[in-house]
């Protein structure tokens, strides 16, 4: 399964601003690809187009050479799962019922929900109401719902092959332990042949989890795309975000941090507070 965007442009109906312009990139199976960039750079629009939820207003979105828009309903649901930025659900659903929604078009699959609950460590919460959970727990439930949909650990050999998980800021509400667990899960998914795409703000997480990165720059254009080692680097990050960055190798892995200008250091802030 290869997802390919060729010279994609997009503007929302009734607006003049091009959210994406001339975007070309590819997502390969068995790889983790991160989409990075500042706020309003078009990351969410890009991942929605990759999921087949938006049709580009220019260019083409292809999956295995055929238009992504031609894949609908159960066929698309069986191959592409999408996790939105904010967990949203009507009232009254339990965690287990929420996971079952992932199987809507595909029908029940023996053990799919239990496998997803186990992988996300949500087994103990399966009977709890979704709306009684914290924002972080809700985010994990939506990840589990996407896993129940794709069922990459299913009994069929190669159950993850040819599938794509696309997540928009999937760790934004998670504590460090669960953020790490989620990123590890992405690596496991990739090892089972699933193509993973995640829009991330945390660049340290991005550099540690991803094989490839798509860096969105101003004007909805791709500033750089390719291997993480060549993309998430200070020289590329600084013009995108407008602040200098430091990439530091540590025993725990690479750390990417913005280098704050002198006027915004802690001591200066303390001075201001006094």
């Amino acid at each position: 399964m290869t997802l390919e965007l060729a010279q994609v442009g997009f503007r929302y109906p009734g607006t003049r601003r091009l959210v994406l312009e001339d975007v070309s990139c590819a997502v390969a199976p068995g790889r983790v690809t991160v989409v990075i960039g500042p706020n309003a750079a078009g990351k969410t629009t890009l991942v929605r187009i990759m999921s087949g939820l938006l049709n580009p207003t220019a260019g083409r979105a292809l999956i295995d050479g055929r238009p992504l828009r031609s894949m609908r309903g159960a066929e698309r649901a069986g191959r592409i799962a999408y996790i939105a930025q904010r967990p949203t659900l009507g009232a009254g659903f339990t965690v287990a019922q929420t996971l079952a929604l992932g199987r809507y078009a595909l029908g029940a699959s023996a053990g799919a929900i239990e496998r997803a609950l186990a992988r996300t460590e949500l087994g103990d919460l399966s009977g709890r109401g979704f709306h009684t959970l914290s924002a972080g727990q809700q985010q994990r439930v939506m990840l589990a719902r996407a896993l129940a949909q794709l069922d990459p650990w299913g009994p069929r050999p190669g159950a993850g092959a040819g599938k794509l998980l696309i997540a928009d800021e999937p760790t934004s509400a998670l504590d460090p332990r669960h953020a790490m667990a989620t990123l590890s899960l992405f690596r496991e998914l990739a090892s089972r042949g699933v193509g993973v795409v995640a829009a991330l703000h945390d660049l340290t997480s991005a550099v540690r989890v991803a094989d490839r990165a798509i860096a969105m720059g101003p004007g909805g254009r791709i500033a750089a795309a390719g291997a993480v080692s060549q993309t998430i680097v200070p020289d590329i990050l600084e013009p995108i975000y407008g602040v200098p960055f430091a990439l530091t190798a540590t025993p725990a892995g690479a750390v990417v941090t913005p280098v704050a200008p002198a006027s915004t250091t802690a001591s200066a802030a303390e001075e201001t507070c006094r």
Partner: protein
């Protein structure tokens, strides 16, 4: 579900035992039995349709406060009916009561729901509070227009029209019309059950619902048309009856959970039971000024319940 069935059975039994004077007795002859059966069938159809319409609208608009009355459908359908009665008066010089063309209620309901939806949405997104406010305002305007049309009718048609706009089951309804509306109600319940899993999945965000395979556009149009048609049917049989479509889905959801297939079925049974029970009660309650319209009773009971639900929806309120 069992409780809903029990309620309906109890309500039907009670209603069949209440005579025309509000006295408990058995039907004296076949004609009276037929009249009571007709009112039971009418109440079942109206209650089931209102409750299911509420379920469909709450799913369509992802808003637990949506209902045919709150969103102005009932007022719109009533306005459509009154306009058709007035048009009949202009054409013939006489007020033809209770047999307005069905299409007038349907058009009124659809036009109102469409208007509320268009005004309340912004780039396809609907703010729940805005929606309720717009629904209430459109409902008030439709109510005012209904009063205007009523005012234009001659005195002999006025009393009957006022009674009709308060919402009450109609003794003069013909079996043919009742059968047609009942069939539409059954079809609506059937579609509601069929679409249950899709409505469940549509409780996710729009993007996620589509990603799990819901054809959201087709689902919303179907729910829109079904809710409007069901409401129009109830208005044809009983005039505007408020709060049943709001309160029943809430009560059933609180007991049976959010899954839409059982929710549709249990709401239909509970709504039917409630209207038939209300019809029995208004026969027994004698205020010395004629029979109380069912719409008054449901509004008196449903209004405070709606207020409680609204207060519990407020940010910071315990749920």
């Amino acid at each position: 579900m069992t409780a809903s069935l029990a309620l309906l059975a109890l309500a039907v039994a009670l209603r069949l035992l209440v005579g025309p004077d509000g006295v408990w007795d058995l039907p004296r002859d076949g004609a009276e039995l037929e009249l009571r059966l007709l009112r039971v069938a009418s109440g079942v159809s109206v209650g089931a349709a209102l409750a299911v319409s509420g379920v469909l609208l709450q799913s369509l608009l992802r808003n637990p406060l949506a209902s045919p009355a709150v969103l102005g459908l009932t007022s719109g359908a009533s306005l459509g009916v009154m306009i058709s009665i007035y048009a009949g008066f202009l054409a013939t010089g006489a007020v033809v009561q209770y047999e307005p063309p069905a299409v007038s209620a349907l058009l009124g309901a659809m036009a109102t729901l469409g208007l509320v939806y268009v005004i309340a949405q912004r780039r396809g997104m609907i703010d729940p509070v805005t929606l309720i406010l717009v629904g209430v305002i459109v409902s008030l305007i439709a109510g005012a227009l209904t009063m205007l049309v009523t005012h234009l009718l001659p005195a002999d048609g006025l009393a009957a029209s006022v009674q009709w706009t308060l919402g009450s089951l109609n003794d003069n309804v013909r079996w043919l019309r009742l059968t047609l509306v009942g069939a539409v109600t059954l079809i609506g319940i059937g579609f509601g059950c069929l679409l249950g899993p899709a409505m469940d999945a549509a409780a996710l965000s729009d993007d996620e619902a589509r990603a799990v395979g819901v054809r959201l556009g087709a689902l919303r149009i179907t729910l829109f048309v079904l809710a409007g048609t069901l409401t129009a049917g109830t208005v044809l049989l009983a005039g505007p009856i408020a709060f049943v479509g709001l309160v029943i889905p809430h009560l059933v959801r609180a007991v049976g959970g959010p899954s839409h297939r059982p929710l549709v079925l249990a709401s239909a049974l509970t709504g039917a039971g409630l209207i038939v029970l209300a019809d029995a009660l208004v026969r027994v309650i004698d205020l010395g000024s004629g029979r109380m319209p069912i719409g008054v009773l449901t509004a008196l009971v449903g209004g405070p319940v709606f207020l409680v639900i609204l207060l519990r929806q407020r940010p910071g309120a315990e749920s």
